[in-house]
């Protein structure tokens, strides 16, 4: 009887200890990446190569999703605003929702599932096929040669993708609000310009996405590096990357929003 009562409690305790343990490991890994970043900055073509895989290859999904999110915002925003007779404020609504929240958060979620999972799988497979061991036996530190360039490529790509997502969203909102519904094009832009502040809205949004980029890529490379070197282990690590990234992005978003706005 006591056992059945205590068992979930014990599991919870185990889970908490496990989570804290991982947090410690990931922090140590972060420090290791920072200490081994010199090489990736000196040999920047390594970072450029990884930016191709994490950034350029994510362009399509970012452009398409940004457009659709903007169109939905335009449609939903219009139906809500028109009840208060302020449909003219649609431009401001679309721009502020995208710049402050939706752009950085959704771009980061898409980035985690498109580029983060690929990063984990790639590093995990390199581990499973002893490529990381081979590198280390060749006296080349895999953290410096494999992990750090991917990390910095992700950190640099994320704000670019978020900015593009915002632009596509604003264009999507314009397409629905002005071209489809027939609002005045001038008031779409002027309402936007009157209400969007460069520092508070645009810059803070990009700073947010920089933090998300760091968090997502750190999780992705850590999960890959820490993966059990088997097929099942790599697939579990890939799943963990997407799930953990999503949770961390949303939690971090709350913290950053509380700090910034």
């Amino acid at each position: 009887m006591l056992e059945t009562l205590l068992s979930p409690l014990r599991k919870l305790g185990h889970w908490v200890i496990e989570a804290i343990w991982r947090l410690g490991m990931i922090s140590r890994f972060f420090v290791a990446i920072l200490m081994n970043s010199g090489q990736s900055l000196l040999r920047f073509h390594l970072v450029i190569r990884e930016m191709y895989f994490s950034g350029v290859l994510s362009l399509i999904i970012i452009v398409v999703s940004g457009l659709f999110v903007g169109m939905v915002l335009g449609l939903q925003g219009y139906t809500t605003l028109v009840r208060f007779g302020s449909a003219d404020a649609l431009g401001a609504l679309v721009a502020l929702s995208l710049l402050r929240e939706l752009g950085p958060v959704l771009a980061a979620l898409l980035f985690a599932s498109r580029a983060g999972s690929a990063m984990t799988a790639e590093i995990g497979l390199m581990k499973a096929t002893e490529q990381l061991d081979a590198m280390s036996v060749m006296a080349v530190n895999p953290v410096a040669r494999v992990v750090a360039p991917r990390f910095w490529a992700g950190v640099l790509s994320m704000p670019i993708l978020a900015a593009l997502f915002n632009v596509m969203g604003i264009i999507g909102g314009y397409a629905v609000g002005v071209l489809m519904i027939g609002l005045d094009s001038g008031s779409y832009w002027s309402q936007m310009q009157a209400n969007v502040d460069l520092h508070v809205d645009v810059v803070n949004g990009l700073i947010k996405s920089l933090f998300f980029g760091m968090a997502v890529t750190l999780i992705a490379v850590y999960e890959g590096f820490d993966a059990t070197p088997t097929a099942a282990g790599v697939s579990a690590a890939t799943t963990r990357t997407v799930v953990t990234s999503a949770l961390v992005i949303l939690a971090l978003d709350f913290v950053l929003t509380a700090f910034m706005f």
């Binding site: 073509h45 915002n166 936007m192």
Partner: protein
């Protein structure tokens, strides 16, 4: 240094990023060159500023002429000192008056300037002497209630 097609793609990628940020700053946030040398500061003291915030617009005849740069409480007379950053191309006479207005019924509050008749203009750092405070809804209702009550009492005296 070998060139590769990847470098080209990453170049395009970074260019797209810079173009997006430029678009967001110029077209969306309407980044206007509002540097210090192109504006000057005036200040005004109000009994009550209501919901006025830093960066609120300053308008004359409905035209944007500047923004509220800072708000502080004067520790001597307990009035709100509002610093206004005014675009240098506009100058105002010494008897200009400032009032705190609301855009629409529930809109944001802004400072309205009304030009006076004095030939002398306000110098940078000058004080706008004539001010009228923000309308605070609670006080307005309070006043209405008292005058209504007084009006009710006065009706007996046949004094509307």
């Amino acid at each position: 240094m070998k060139r590769s097609i990847i470098d080209l793609w990453v170049g395009i990628f970074v260019a797209i990023g810079l173009a997006s940020i430029a678009f967001l700053s110029l077209k969306v946030a309407n980044l206007t060159p509002q540097s210090a040398d192109k504006s000057y500061v005036l200040y005004a003291e109000f009994d009550n500023i209501g919901g006025l915030k830093v960066k609120a617009p300053v308008k004359a005849a409905g035209v944007l002429v500047g923004r509220v740069s800072s708000i502080e409480l004067d520790p001597k007379n307990y009035m709100a000192r509002v610093n206004l950053s005014i675009d240098s191309q506009y100058s105002f006479s010494q008897d200009t008056s400032a009032e705190i207005l609301t855009a629409g019924l529930l809109g944001e509050q802004y400072v309205g300037l009304v030009q006076g008749g004095d030939p002398e203009d306000l110098k940078p750092g000058g004080r706008i002497a004539l001010t009228s405070s923000a309308l605070v809804l609670e006080q307005l209702i309070g006043k209405f209630m008292t005058s209504f009550a007084e009006g009710g009492a006065a009706k007996d005296d046949k004094q509307p």
